[in-house]
Amino acid sequence: MAECAVKTVSGTLPGFRASAPLLLRQIIATSAAASLVLPLATPAAAQSRPPAPYANVQLSDPAKEAEATALMATLRCLVCQGQAIVDSDADMAGDMRSLVRQRIAAGESADEVRDWLIARYGDYVTYDPPMSAVTIPLWLTPLALLALGIWIASASFRRRRPPRR
C-alpha cells in the first residue's frame, strides 16, 4: 500500500525545476513522498499482534531452552522456506518457536515435537530428514561421491610417478 502511495505522490509533486537531473528529482520526490507516507503506514503495521509468548523469550530452565534451541535450528520456517525457525523474523516462525518452547517446557522430548510437526507438514518441515526410501540418496550420494573422488585421486597420483625402467 505504501509503495503505491509513493508512486502516486512522486508523480504529482509539483515545484521541481526542469533543469535538475531526473534521477536527483526522483530521489527528492521519493524521499519527500516517503516522509509523507510513512506516518500513514504505521497503523497498518500496528494491526499485527504482538509476538506469541515464547517467540522471543527463553525458557527459564536452561537445559530445556538448550533442547528447544537445538530443535528450532533444525526446523524449517514454512513461509520463508530457506531458513530455520530459529533464524527467522517471520511472524509464523515466531509462533512456531513459541509452540516448540511450550511443548518442550510441558515435558515433551525434541523428537516428539519434531514428529508432531512431521505429522502435519511432512518431512519437509525438518532439516534432519529421517532415512527412508525417498531420502536414501541424500545419505548415500555423499559417500558415493567421496568414493569416486578417492578413486580419481588415486588414479591421478599413480600416473604422476615416473615410469619404471
Binding site: Q47, R49, D91, M92, D95, L99, R120, Y121
Partner: protein
Amino acid sequence: MRRWLLWLPLVLFALVVVFAVRELRKPSDRTVYSAMVGKPVPDFTLPPILSGRPGLSAADLKVGQPRLLNIFASWCVPCIAEAPQLMKLKAMGIPIDAVAIRDSEPAIAQFLKRHGDPYARIGDDRDSRVQLSLGSSGVPETFVIDGRGIIVKQHVGDIRDEDVAALADAWRNAR
C-alpha cells in the same frame, strides 16, 4: 589409458544442465501441503474474535454436514482477492467457518464490512496454534471437512474464480 573417462565430467555437466533447464522451464511445485488431509481435524477450541458471534471448536466441524474451513487474516492481501469467491460459495448454500490468524476484533470487523462476511463461525487463533496443528503454512488456505470431521481436501492460496467449482464439488462429494 581409458580415454572414454575424459568425457565423464562433460556428461555429468550435461546432466546438470538438463536438470537446470527442466526446472527453469517448468519449476516443480514448491507449495507446502498439509499432511493432515484424510485425517480427522485435531482437537481445538478457539474463542470468538467478534463479540456476539460464535467462536470455533473442532466439535463444530463434526456436525454431520460437510463444511469449509477458511484460514484467513485481515492483514492478508490475497484474502481480499478470494472474498468474492467465498461469497459465491456461501450463496451456493455451503457453510463456511473461519480461523482468523494473528488478528484483532476491530480489524476483522472492518475487513468483513468491506469485503463481505461469508462465515458462520470465526475462531481467534492469536498465535497460529490451530493453524500449525492443521498443517497449514500460510494465509489464505481452505479445508473441506466432511460431516465426521475428516479433512478431505486442502486448497492452498486464494480461491480464484476457476477454483470455485472444484471446491463446491469436493464439498458435495463429502456429503
